[in-house]
């Protein structure tokens, strides 16, 4: 599904290199986790994959089912099936959450040459999915993320994911700022979306999210590289011993 | 374009009351050019856009209206306890006895009257130069008049860190004095100076201060405009700021029949910072006008304008402030707030806070409010046993706090707070609010 090869990235405006050769391959239906200390480049990886401005790719490639992502506009990546759940979801004053969702869903459908969803079907679908995430009708009416609590924002991200039905989902520190109950709610939402044709890349600093969203593969990232890859047990190792041991071990 | 008849006449009358320009030294060219500028503009008139709220008649008049000097009683003069370099002008005339020696670490000071006769002087590049540049897009004829006819002033060249502040003390003695002073301050790259000014200066006072703040230099300015009730003053601050330089200017105005303080600041180098603040308290026949024009001409500069006025018994406050962001001045951060507290029905506040923006990556905002004191807060304090008058003073000080906070020196800020408290104890709205 997603294949990243030798990805090198620096900041556009400064001479600061952030990613120094990332290699990663995620198969269909797999859940991968990337863990790493602050500043290791985890979030940069998610932004570069989704096409945010301000980064310069100096080498390497990232393909989704063989199509080169890095040359696409952000909206084309989304239409191709990539979804990023933001660490800090953006507030858009004045734009209703529902309007935003429908505009996004139909934009993607249109670019894939599919028919748009009717308003009635859309409404039914949103209400259904919102319910499982405990998002009430009032929240759907409010402007996008404006005045939402941390938990509400993250649930809203998962709702968008559920509505847009991407094939490759990246969750960037989705656990940050969540209490235990909210984390459970969000994780349940994610788990409900797991399927054979859909892959996940879960970026997190802590192991606790991985108790809820069980990964198939865990990668440790440091200083812009993936330095170790293993099974779920690798996450536990980090939980127990911190990053220091692994960093030392790898040198 | 020829001046309208009324302007032509007013100007001729005023010029007839002033001495002819002498033709000596480097300054003669600067004065002649300033006179030409004035003749092209004419004197300000009530119909001019930036004089709609302030009547310039008394500033234009040939002779100043008489004004008695105020006896502050046992209140110590401001900045008294500070280690400073004192320069005293009495009714606009330099007083060598009362002044310190004009010299200190990191700084060279000359009197304009002494230096003007030389053939060449560094001040040639500054005297009247920033004033001339500041005549567009808004005309400031009274500043040009000052450049042409100033009788004295200081030329201060700051080469390093001036350890002592320079304190200008303007004493007012004669009831009919009409003073015109013009100072130039040139700060070399990385240099710093604190300039203190206090006193009413004269029955009518015209002052221009031109400041060139080079890259990385820093200029702090704190001014207390004397408490004479009858005095009139028009002052101009023209400042040019280089890269990473800083300007901080705070003015306290208490009393005075008419005060017009103009500030014209050009941010010409990236990452420069200009903070202008003013607190004005007026009782009765008091008209106070802050007219500020800040131009962002370079990237990533920051400007703040914080002007607060407390008005009672028919006092008038005027604020005209502009942030102009030129094309290319991206990452500008501009903030402006003008607020008035009207303590009775007779007082008024007239404001024109403007933004003019030609760059898109900017953060600019302004706010302006006017209203009475918060009765709920007043009642709350009273219900806790605070007498009404004290409670009111407390709330007034709280209202002025944002402006006073712009003073970097905490001791001076505290001194000013105390002075304001005493002023408020002496003055109250007749409406008993």
């Amino acid at each position: 599904m997603l294949e990243i090869k030798n990805l090198h990235v620096k900041l556009e405006e400064e001479d600061k290199v952030i990613l120094r050769g990332v290699d990663l391959k995620i198969g269909a239906g797999e859940v991968h986790a990337i863990m790493g200390p602050n500043g290791s480049g985890k979030s940069t990886l998610s932004y570069v994959l989704s096409g945010r401005d301000g980064y310069e790719v100096t080498a390497g490639s990232a393909t989704l089912d063989g199509a080169e992502l890095l040359e696409m506009e952000p909206e084309d990546r989304a239409a191709a099936g990539l979804f990023l759940a933001f660490q800090y979801p953006v507030e858009i004053p004045g734009v209703g959450n529902m309007t935003f969702l429908r505009t996004a869903v139909n934009a993607q459908k249109k670019s894939r040459g599919e028919p748009e969803v009717s308003a009635a079907d859309f409404l039914k679908l949103v209400r259904e999915k919102a319910k499982t995430l405990k998002i009430d009708a009032e929240m759907l009416k409010r402007p996008v993320n404006v005045g939402f609590s941390g938990g509400e924002k993250k649930r809203n991200e998962i709702l968008q994911m559920a509505m847009l039905e991407p094939r490759m989902c990246i969750l960037d520190e989705t656990d940050s700022g969540l209490d235990v109950d909210a984390m459970k709610l969000v994780s349940d939402g994610v788990n409900a979306l797991r399927s054979e044709g859909r892959s996940f890349l879960v970026i997190t600093h802590y192991q606790r999210l991985l108790d809820h969203i069980k990964p198939d593969v865990v990668h440790i990232m440091a200083a812009g590289r993936i330095i170790k890859t293993g099974g779920p047990e690798l996450a536990l190792e980090v939980e127990n011993n911190g990053y220091a041991d692994i960093l030392n071990e790898v040198g | 374009m020829a001046l309208p008849k009324a302007k032509e006449d007013a100007l001729s009358a005023r010029l007839a009351g002033l001495p002819a320009l002498s033709g000596k030294g480097w300054i003669s060219a600067a004065r002649a050019e300033a006179l030409a500028r004035l003749q092209a503009m004419g004197l300000p008139a009530k119909r001019d856009e930036y004089w709609r709220y302030t009547d310039p008649a008394s500033l234009n008049a040939v002779d100043p209206a008489a004004a008695k000097s105020f006896n502050p009683g046992d209140e110590a003069p401001p900045f008294d306890g500070l280690d400073r370099l004192k320069v005293v002008f009495v009714d606009g005339v330099f007083d060598p006895q009362a002044s310190d020696d004009l010299g200190a670490e990191g700084i060279r000071i000359e009197r304009l009257a002494d230096a003007a006769a030389a053939d060449i002087h560094w001040a040639q590049g500054l005297y009247g130069v920033l004033e001339a540049a500041g005549q567009s897009p808004v005309q400031r004829p009274l500043a040009a008049l000052n450049t042409a006819f100033a009788t004295d002033g200081l030329l201060i060249h700051v080469t390093g860190n001036a350890t002592k502040p320079v304190a200008l003390i303007y004493v007012h003695n004669s009831d009919n004095s009409d003073a015109i002073l013009h100072h130039c301050v040139k700060l070399d790259p990385g240099a710093s100076l604190t300039l203190l000014e206090n006193g009413p200066a004269a029955a009518r006072f015209s002052k221009v201060l031109e400041v060139d703040v080079a890259d990385g230099a820093s200029f702090h300015h704190i001014r207390l405009q004397g408490r004479d009730h009858e005095r009139r003053a028009v002052t101009h601050l023209f400042a040019r700021l280089g890269a990473r330089s800083e300007l901080r200017s705070f003015t306290l105005t208490a009393n005075g029949r008419l005060t017009r303080n103009e500030a014209v600041v050009d941010l010409t180098g990236p990452d420069a910072r200009a903070h202008l603040a003013g607190a004005a308290v007026g009782d009765g026949d008091f008209h106070h006008d802050d007219t500020v024009f800040i131009t962002h001409g370079a990237e990533a500069c920051e400007s703040r304008q914080v002007f607060k006025k407390v008005l009672m018994n028919g006092a008038t406050g005027v604020f005209q402030g502009k942030i102009l962001v030129k094309s290319g001045a991206q990452k500008t951060d501009g903030y402006q707030i003008s607020q008035s507290l009207l303590l009775d029905e007779d007082s008024q506040f007239l404001a024109k806070p403007e933004l003019e923006i030609y760059a898109d990556d900017v953060k600019c905002s302004h706010g302006s409010t006017s209203g009475a004191i918060d009765e709920t807060a007043l009642f709350y304090l009273q219900s806790r046993g605070v007498p009404r008058r004290t409670a009111q003073a407390l709330l007034v000080l709280a209202f002025l706090a944002e402006a006073i906070q712009e003073i970097a020196d905490e001791d001076i800020a505290e001194d000013i707070r105390e002075r304001l408290e005493r002023w408020l104890a002496r003055h109250g709205s007749k409406a008993g609010a």
Partner: protein, 506 residues
Amino acid sequence: MTMLETVDGTEVREGVDRETIETVQAMAGKYKYGWETEIEMDYAPKGLSEDIVRLISKKNNEPEWLLDWRLAAYQRWVKLEEPRWAMLNYPEIDYQDQFYYATPKSMAKKPKSLDEVDPKLLATYAKLGIPLKEQMLLAGVEGDAEPRKVAVDAVFDSVSVGTTFKAELAKAGVIFCSISEAVREHPDLVKQYLGSVVPPSDNFFATLNSAVFSDGSFVYIPKGTRCPMELSTYFRINAENTGQFERTLIVCDEGAYVSYLEGCTAPKRDTNQLHAAVVEIVILKDAEVKYSTVQNWYPGDENGVGGIYNFVTKRADCRGDRAKVMWTQVETGSAITWKYPSCILRGDDSQGEFYSIAIANNAQQADTGTKMVHLGKRTKSRIVSKGISAGRAQNTYRGLVSMHPKAKDSRNYTQCDSLLIGDKCGAHTVPYIEVRNNSSRVEHEATTSKVDDDQLFYCRSRGMDEEEAVALVVNGFCKEVLQALPMEFAMEAQSLVAISLEGSVG
């Protein structure tokens, strides 16, 4: 599109947004109303003189007093100078190089009813989407519980083509007709109120209008009457080199209510055309008027060639206690906009509101805002202005809030926000605030910023292209004003916002 739209006010607008996007896609960014009707016209000779003023008056069969009124205005105008204080830059207007009167030949004999109107004219309005048949307006939504009626006065160049629903309105005592008809049929009302809010001496353009106004709408809502339907006037400039000088007079008697809509379009032409209108609104005790405008005159092309010069004086006088007025304007058209719909809050407890969206793209220039003059006690005003600049456009908010000494305990709140799209345009704010008593509270806030990159990226990462993302974010920025519009207008306005900004990104 059914269920969503009918749930409640908020969700109705959910449906509108969808319309926006669809409309944008359908139109591909061209000025939709730029076509021209080929029709035989009668012109008065070019230029302005006393004779032309007499001719216009004669064409309208006006009484002597009105001719005198016009001539006095003309004599005054000749001595006036065009104001130049606005932040607008345009070449000098040659007032003698214009036609001041143009009317379709078929209108020479006044049609008695819409059935007699030239089919070409009816077709013009049909093409513009303006219903001149007396039909229910379904608010664009099937299943909407209550289909609504909107009465239309259609003004084509210098004359009113026809007014719909007149009979039904007359039953309620409402007078809605062209002003030329009102002069003939209701001379007392016209004489009493014409020029009483905007006197002929008011300003250069109002004086010009007073001399040469050819037609416009007249509305009278009698005491205690809630106008049974929305009233609207649709202005169409068609003839070349012809100025449009319409005059609208609305009188809302004690306790009455009316919502009035105004729309404007013009063909694409590479010469500039002058539009100098006057709108006067008189609001008596306990009455309320809502006046909404979607101004979509031809804005000129990307290089600033052509477009309407729009110099308009609009003022509402809240004469009685508790009178209320609400101006809502969406200004997307015109090469030059000079317009300050104002509120004179004379009655105690009267209220004025001004909601504005002004979009200037390409080479457009707008200098617009409002005046809130508080004279009565406990008067309230609210100003919400959203300015959007793109391309090389200049957009200025200019406003006055004045609290007179006797306007005790009054309130004003002003919020002026400007959005910049691109680094070649300008956004300016010029408020005048005059507070002459202390029991009144005035608050003014203004911000200027660019379209937020994070918001755009967020939208794009969800699959929207850049223009869609900009349209969505800008519509969000304007939400407060869009919500103040009647629904039919809100829909049109939302799509206009998107269309007006086309080509502003990338």
